[in-house]
Every structure is written in structure tokens, then in C-alpha cells.
Amino acid sequence: MNAPIELRADETFVLNVGPQHPATHGVLRVKMEMHGEYIVNAETVIGYIHRMHEKMGELKTYPQFLMNLSRMDYLGALGYSHAHVLVVEKASGIVVPERAEYIRAIMVELNRIASHLFWFGAFVMDLGGFSPLMYALQDREHILDMLEAVTGSRLTYCYFRFGGLYNDVDDDFIAAARRFVPRMRKSLKKYRRLVTDNVIFRKRLEGIAPLSKEICRKYGASSAVARGSGINFDVRKNEPYSVYPQFDFDIPVYPQGDSLARYMVRMDEIEQSLRIVEQGLDKLPGGPIMPEKKPKLIKPPPGDYYQAVETARGSFGVRLVSDGGKTPYRLKLRSPTYSNMHLFDEACRGMMIMDALAFMGSLDLVIPEIDR
């Protein structure tokens, strides 16, 4: 298993996995040179749903671009909006009320749980188990209902504003969130019994696609890909932003680097996010959700600003180059899965196709977010 192979050129064939393939979860294509079931070489081809968000960023004014961020990652949209509003606020010196920051953190964490739940279901489905997806979607539905009541949408939120929020949370939301936390904990226990402790499941993931720290660093991997390889890296802790320093939570790190470690990191992260939501609800201060003094027109002073946040998929960064105008001079979106996916080509060499596709699932890919 996973042994290097030496062979002649005429013994291989090319297998096109994608752009329409059930395991790629979107329009991603991997050209694999195969020797039987073994992958000799792979080349990932992306860009099938490239929409040039960065050009749109240059053409639209700052508030107009708010809604684009949630179209990047349809599963964990709020984290991406968070980075955008943070960098613009930082650049133009807008002070955000504390209540707004707390609500942002709660919402982002709920969204992170929803994203991880969907990934969990889809990942187990990649491995051939169908039912966990349905269970995960039912839990996710509770989150979407809560978020819908406050933000007005279920998937592509446009909830954050420069300086604050679009809508305040009400008592119904707080009650629902408090009810949700213990229910989710119960579900996590069920997932552990049904999936994590399943012997077939563990056998399929243990020791598959071990990633070294070095390869993670060379490719700039983040999220569970880095943390599953023993790298204690989470932007929320390493480079604290927003109100995250106020929360007490841990960063799950597993040193093995295999697909199971990546799986365990994400499952543990759900628990940590629940802790943040709980603490956020406890500490939620009163007050306004928008600052009293806010410039009518957002025109950050000329300069170069960068803000990274930890989204559900890893370290997402927005670089804003402003020339003092109404629109950004340049808006660079650094998406985490772009880097995570990039190491697939190198890491999957010599693997069997079913292991490689399990590995691909463990990277937590969202294609619109890679292609932007």
C-alpha cells in the first residue's frame, strides 16, 4: 500500500476525475496518471467556476462588495464577510461596538459548526456511508433556521456591515441558541458512536495520506490540514482579532497528519465552537449594534492593509490596497482551500485512488472558494 512504483510509460493511463465527479463536490478536475489503482502523477485543474471576484472588488464600492464575500464559500459564508469588514474597518478607523463584535463571533461560530457538519456528512458519504449526511443536515438545519431569523438568509448571508451589523439578535435567537448547544453535544456523541468508532471507518483513514509539517509549510496549508499535522496554528489564537481573546477555547491538534487526524480536528472543533457560542451568549453585552459616528462614504486612506481570520476552511486573508477612492485600488482574497488543495498533487502520488479521494474529502474543499 502506498508504495512508490517504477514503471514504463506505456503501462499507465490517464483518468480524468471531474469536472463532473461525485467525489470532487463541485467542478474540480484532477488529471490522474494511473497505474492500475495507483496514482503515479496528478495534476489538479481548477478555474471552472472562476468569477473574478477580485476585479468586481475593484469596480464596486465598499458596501456593494459586501455580498460578494458570501458567494465565495457557500458553507461558511460569515467568516469570509468577517475578514472583509474587519479590514475595511481597520483601514478607515471605524470602531465597532462591543455587542456587535460579540454577535459577529457567535454567528461566525454557528456558521462554522454548520459548515463542519456539512463537511462531516459529505466526507462520510465519500467513504460510502450515507446516513450520517442526513443526520448532519438535520442538525445543520437548526443552525440555518436560527441564522435565517436574524440575518434574513440561509446560505449567502450579507449580515455584517462596516461598523456593525444589519440586524440585532432577539430573545428568540438567544433561546434557540441555548437550546441548540446541548442538542448538538448529544448529536456529537451519536456521531462518535456511529462513525468515529466504526472499525471500517477508522481503517479507511488511519495512516492514509500522512502530511508532514514541512509540506504544510511549503504550501501554506491551514485549518485542519495543518492542525492534523501537529501544527498548532489557528488565526483566532495566533493572531487574535475581534473578541476572540475574551473566549476560553482550545485548538485541537493531532500530530499524526493522516486523514483521521484531520477528521478528528474538525469534529473537536465543533465542540470548541459550541463553547465559544455558549460563552458569547453568557457575556453578550448590551448597547448599540452600529457605531454612532460612522462616515457616510467609506473611503479608507491610501495604504496597504491585510487582515486574516480563521474561517471554517482555514486562514482567510483580505489584502486591501486603497488609493483613497470610493472603490478599492486592489482587493486580494487569499482563500485557504486554494493552498490546501494545491498540496494534493504532491501528496497523492503513489496512493490508491480510493485513498486519494478519501484524502481529498478530508481537505474540506469548497470549489467556488478555490476558484473565486
Partner: protein, 169 residues
């Protein structure tokens, strides 16, 4: 800690003229101002979101990246900016660290807009491959020595570079 070390190493590589430290408050982004001279500037993290900002000639780029690689930085992203007024293309390399010794480093280099050629850093950071291809797609910057410089996000036959300021759809 590591910031100091990296700064010293980078300053050793790029001798800073006195003018650069004097013009600390001056932003490179402002239109119509004199372009920033090469050198290392320490930025206010709370405002800019990074600590070290080093501008250099593109011949020094590989040496600078090698310094960061030795100090175990990871490559965050590579991007470009089109300064059409100055007829230059700026390349921005973002580096950060996995440990808690926080230090974000930004390397910048400027090339002529008509003949944008920079050396590739894929030899040092394999992960730069896609970032450089993307920058090639959007700005037409040629990374000399890149192993596979074909369009990545744009269609295979794309001969346009959408993020150039004079690009008309």
C-alpha cells in the same frame, strides 16, 4: 523576537537608504507621489495587519525568500498590483508563521509594466506554483523558470489579463 532577527537579515540583504526610514509615514499607495525606495520598514501591526514591509529589486527576491524559508515562515499568498500611473507592476509576497511568535512579512518588488519578468520562487516554496500562475493570469507577469506557467483560473486560451487597470472587458 523573530521579527527582529528577520528584519536584521533582510536589512543586511537590502541596504536601506536613509530616505526610506525618513519616509515611514508615506504610503506607497498614494498616487502621484514619488515611488518608495527599496528597504525594510517596520509597520504598525494594528493599522496595517503586518509587521515587516520590505521592498526590493527583483534580483534580491530569491535571497529574501530564502531567508524567510530558513526562518520557517509559510507562504500565505502572492499577488500583484497594477500601478498604471507609474507604469509599474508591483508584486506582493505575504509570509506568516505557524508558531505564536507572530510576525507577518510582506515582500514587494516592482517591475516594468511593458516587460514584467521576475524569477520564480517555486524552487524554494513549492506552494508558490499556483499563486504565481494566478498572478500570471491576472497581470501577465512572467515568472522565469516556472515549471508550468499556463492559465490556471482563466480559460486555457486566455490572452487577456483582467486585473490590469487598462483591461476592458
Amino acid at each position: 523576537m523573530i521579527c527582529e532577527k528577520t528584519r536584521t537579515a533582510l536589512e543586511h540583504l537590502i541596504p536601506t537608504p536613509d530616505a526610506a526610514t525618513a519616509g515611514d509615514g508615506q504610503e506607497s499607495g498614494a498616487k502621484g507621489q514619488t515611488p518608495r525606495p527599496n528597504g525594510v520598514i517596520e509597520r504598525d501591526y494594528a493599522v496595517h495587519g503586518y509587521h515587516l514591509d520590505a521592498q526590493m529589486a527583483c534580483e534580491q527576491l530569491l535571497a529574501a525568500v530564502a531567508i524567510l524559508d530558513e526562518n520557517e515562515f509559510f507562504l500565505e499568498t502572492i499577488t500583484g498590483v497594477d500601478w498604471i500611473a507609474e507604469n509599474q507592476l508591483e508584486l506582493i509576497y505575504d509570509f506568516s508563521r505557524y508558531d505564536f511568535d507572530l510576525c507577518r512579512v510582506v515582500l514587494r518588488t516592482r517591475v516594468d509594466r511593458r516587460n514584467p519578468v521576475v524569477p520564480t520562487i517555486t524552487g524554494i516554496y513549492a506552494g508558490a506554483n499556483w499563486h504565481e500562475r494566478e498572478t500570471h493570469d491576472f497581470f501577465g507577469i512572467v515568472f522565469s523558470g516556472h515549471p508550468h506557467l499556463i492559465p490556471l483560473l482563466l480559460p486555457e486560451d486566455a490572452d487577456f489579463h483582467p486585473l490590469l487597470k487598462d483591461f476592458k472587458a
